[in-house]
């Protein structure tokens, strides 16, 4: 399997997990920053290898085989992210590009030994689940901070947007995985939220709040 094929599988996998329907050619092209015609070409190749189900003009879905392959790539990506943050002291906004490369290293032994070395973590530094060696993904129940009711509180268990800009903003506000957060008040004018993080009170926009995953206490 080439790196390019792996990248397509991963993109299809991610799109599938958020929309839960067949994935369109254009959607793939957009997330991969490539052209629809290139996507069509690659889809045919993946279909040929029985990694995706494809009927012309109808979008694609992953086969069992393709889904497993995709999960193995995600597993590698997220394990490497843990390594970078926990062992090499990267911050959570710096890991993506490097993990994007490391995920393509081919060695079963390597990835399983790496998992052991890291203590078989089940989540990456952004709170996303790490598929195990069989491809099983543990679902974490979580909800967006923006969807809590006033007075509810819990801990931050993940982020939806993992862009460097957003993560740096969170660092600045001292919000990280595990932060205790209480939803105090909603400002109706701009929908911003007043929250208490650990022991400080601050105001965040609704956009920010809708990119933070919480687990209620």
């Amino acid at each position: 399997m080439t790196q390019s094929e792996e990248n397509y599988l991963k993109a299809i996998y991610h799109l599938t997990t958020i929309t839960d329907t067949d994935v369109s050619t254009n959607a793939i092209a957009e997330t991969m920053e490539t052209k629809a015609s290139s996507v069509t070409d690659m889809i045919k190749k993946l279909a040929e290898k029985d990694l995706v189900n494809y009927k012309k003009y109808q979008g694609v879905s992953l086969t069992v085989k393709g889904s497993l392959a995709a999960k193995m790539i995600v597993r590698k990506h997220r394990l490497w992210e843990v390594f970078l943050v926990e062992k090499l002291d990267f911050s959570w906004d710096e890991v993506h590009d490097v993990a994007e490369q490391l995920e393509h290293i081919k060695s079963e032994k390597l990835i399983n030994k790496l998992a052991d070395f890291l203590g078989n973590p089940t989540e990456d530094p952004h709170g996303d689940p790490i598929p195990d060696a069989n491809g099983d993904v543990q679902k974490v129940e979580k909800q967006l901070l923006s969807e809590l009711n006033i007075g509810q509180n819990g801990i931050c268990v993940g982020v939806k947007d993992t862009s460097s800009e957003f993560l740096k903003y969170l660092d600045k506000q001292k919000i990280s995985l595990g932060s205790q957060i209480e939803f105090l008040e909603r400002e109706e004018f701009d929908l911003s939220l007043k929250i208490k993080v650990d022991h400080t009170i601050l105001s965040i926009s609704n956009k920010i709040a809708s990119n933070i995953f919480m687990k209620l206490n």
Copy 2:
């Protein structure tokens, strides 16, 4: 720089360090298991980028720029080997293929943080020197076990052949980096050597002995 370009640079670098002259097209083709015509193509590309000096039919040598690039690749390869052996518990015969992939990961930050994490080692698991971040390589003085005089002793500081078969043989004989070895006797009939390793006496062929690097006490 593509992976292919990196692989060519590395091959030229290695050939240069052993022969210390301009490198022939055929020599490159052989070590890279490819065809001479492919080598010619790539050499032109590398020359274009000012990574090698090239005059038709005259062989190639690395420019300063090319040499530095090659040393950075070697640095990455060997640091990853240390990581695999020291942290992930690979044996020294298993690391090569994986390091061959890892050496192409592009991130200054990653490799320098990795070096720190490993304690800035100066040698890889086979005793080969690891270039530092500036490309400086510390030369280790060493000589082949096969070239010692009877009665001399020292410690094993490296191997010339790093093939899996050879390394497994050494494991079986309990010879590793740091082993105390004394050259006891030469069998004139087949040139085999009687040696004492740590505390056991054994006989090894001249071929074996000519692939073990020693540092005299």
